[in-house]
Symmetry: C2
Subunit: 320 residues, 2 copies
């Protein structure tokens, strides 16, 4: 998400959040600090803070209040990335070596725990009890999703529903909650909180499906890892599920395991790409996006709505 | 901690907490549920709930309020055990196979995350904002402690101060916070909250030192793991630190690594035991216990104080 996309009047607030993230992950324990700083420096789109701030714009916007929600949510996301990289034995994230690869799985486990703990500290600054319930439920669902993801690895007979439930927990839920908690912190009325949650959910689903498409269509340079890496790791995403509707491709894809060579993967990816699966996946992503946009139509016509629409349209077309 | 030690009027409340722990760790995801149920069934002394309930007795005791604090704290403790077992490559805990050993490190990582998330859910039921701040700070310190523990492994030149700081974060802090939060939930006055925190801190220090002594003096049957296992794993505890004041023993102990044989370990343990280090460690443990008991003297003379004194004395003498 390029910041140029956003209203320039939010630039200062985003800089503030970036500074706060630096403060949040600091530790006097050098090894821990080195690990978390490296993660922060690898950057990221910071889409959760973006949604928190924009959602708060529909209520009584006070950056010093919503900042805490934005930082807490980005930290939860970062903590989950660190633990995900352990599960996936990932070497690179955004072109930077992962904590598990540069140090080891154990340091990564505790670095993730530490970042999560820091996020809780920021949440304690939010006074509404409902915010805490929403957040703890979200963390529980994210954890369940992560275990389900391990279980579903290389399970080639899984359904579209399994996939959708998985990406809800993996991505959509935390984006939905970002919108909802931004609204809660700004004391937006309950009906609108609910609508912002739904908007975030639809955007999140579309966003993750696009991400999963890019794993097939993106360049190694843009992805920061080889194309098709998700599938080789056993993460079966929407394009693979559509491709497997073709029995021949299903047989071929079902042979994939950790030892599948790059050459074999390249051939499988090419066949998935020419099967129509990418276009079908795009259609589903677009359907979610449309639902998100139609919710926006009901919102008051302010600058935040305009920016949310720009972001939604960007997500539909993004190439990285 | 045998429940017979406790006033029989608390028995019903402890049963309630045990039931609530079962509800808390339940998951529809079978693998996750199997893992957490196994952990719960392995039991434990539940000393954190004991301290929460007894501390609450100094204020407006309502089991339906303090229950949430007790469950949250026991779950945080359980989550940290699961992640600790990953770090230590532990095969057994209380004679039952660990999650990392029966499944794998990754499942254990997420099982720990899941249990921690559940604990947050219970905490959301506590209305006092200060309770949330106390708890998130405690989790942060526990995480830092765990990273420091990795860093300090096999570091034979560490000081007594390094050790004391480590066990504060590892054990004493969560027991101190159990006392403090029990008091907060029962709206005990602030001065008394502070005293209960200090009581818990001293008890926790004494408790962990006794635990570290038992690693040398306990039987394999009582410990659920071979004696001296901590030291072989590179965790340098108080008896080892005292033994190393003798230069010959220091040279010998400094040779320990993961490949040290059982026979070599048995010989080293025997030499530590005859060096006077166990007695010196007991003296330190007793000093902390005495401080805890002297705080109790200032408390109102009720049944809870009597039970806390019994527990303190039990901790000083325990053999398992």
């Amino acid at each position: 998400m390029k910041l140029s996309l956003l209203n320039s009047n939010l630039k200062g607030d985003f800089d503030l959040i970036e500074q706060e993230l630096e403060i949040a992950i600091h530790s006097k324990t050098k090894m821990l600090n080195d690990a978390t700083v490296q993660l922060l420096k690898a950057g990221g789109k910071r889409i959760r803070p973006v949604f928190v701030l924009l959602s708060a714009k529909f209520g009584t916007y006070d950056i010093h209040t919503v900042k805490n929600v934005a930082v807490a949510l980005e930290l939860i996301h970062m903590a989950s990335l660190v633990h995900d990289d352990v599960i996936d034995d990932a070497k690179l994230r955004r072109g930077i070596t992962t904590i598990n690869y540069q140090w080891n799985d154990k340091i990564a486990m505790y670095a993730g725990d530490y970042i999560l703990a820091r996020s809780l500290e920021y949440m304690t600054k939010i006074k509404q009890p409902i915010a805490h319930q929403i957040l703890s439920n979200a963390i529980i669902e994210v954890c369940i999703g992560e275990v389900e993801q391990i279980k579903d690895k290389y399970r080639f007979d899984q359904t579209l529903r399994d996939y959708l439930r998985r990406i809800k927990r993996k991505t959509a839920l935390l984006i939905a909650v970002s919108c909802e908690l931004g609204a809660v912190a700004a004391e937006v009325d309950v009906q609108m909180q609910r609508q912002l949650y739904k908007f975030g959910y639809f955007i999140g689903m579309s966003y993750q499906i696009t991400d999963d498409i890019l794993d097939f269509t993106g360049s190694e340079k843009d992805l920061g890892k080889p194309a098709g890496e998700d599938l080789r790791q056993g993460n079966i995403t929407l394009p693979a599920l559509y491709a497997m509707k073709n029995p021949k491709l299903k047989t071929l894809i079902s042979t994939i395991n950790e030892d599948t060579s790059k050459k074999q993967m390249d051939s499988i990816i090419a066949q998935i790409k020419s099967s129509g699966a990418i276009e079908q996946s795009h259609a589903i992503s677009s359907r979610y996006l449309k639902k998100a946009l139609s919710i926006l139509d009901e919102f008051p016509a302010n600058r935040a709505r305009k920016t949310l629409r720009e972001i939604a349209n960007f997500i539909g077309k993004r190439k990285y």
